[in-house]
Symmetry: C2
Subunit: 84 residues, 2 copies
């Protein structure tokens, strides 16, 4: 595949990731509101570890450490957004 | 929406992000190979800034700083993966 074509495909994927990221952040804000209403703590380390472990496992050996870092940041960003 | 339902939706989004992330990493490895073949530098700061600026702009004011951080990590991870 040519570099230009590869880049077009990367740009398309980035657009999809950006759209999903926006949806994820809005859902996490909703989850935060629901937790506050239920008197639950905003931070749930067990659920976080479950998410990271699942994403790592599904990514396969080669991509696992990268997937963990990506989802660790996603969790971090949602926490900051929930708190804001 | 109930917390359980919100979490199910987040999990579904995470699955889609994970799938796109894998595809992005593989395309970036291909881009790296193409650049090496063409004798182009692997690191292209102008393209990186273009990606970050576009994702920031499209995210809207509230999500812009979060989108920049997400895509900065995605770029970082692809560079590490290309180099490996």
């Amino acid at each position: 595949m040519e570099l230009t074509e590869i880049r077009q495909q990367i740009d398309e994927i980035d657009g999809q990731i950006a759209r999903l990221f926006g949806a994820r952040m809005r859902l996490c804000a909703e989850a935060g509101a629901a937790k506050r209403q239920l008197g639950l703590p905003l931070y749930d380390p067990a659920r976080e570890e479950q998410i990271l472990a699942q994403r790592e496992r599904e990514a396969g050996a080669k991509l696992a450490p990268y997937a963990r870092r990506l989802f660790a940041l996603l969790l971090q960003l949602s926490k900051e957004y929930q708190g804001g």
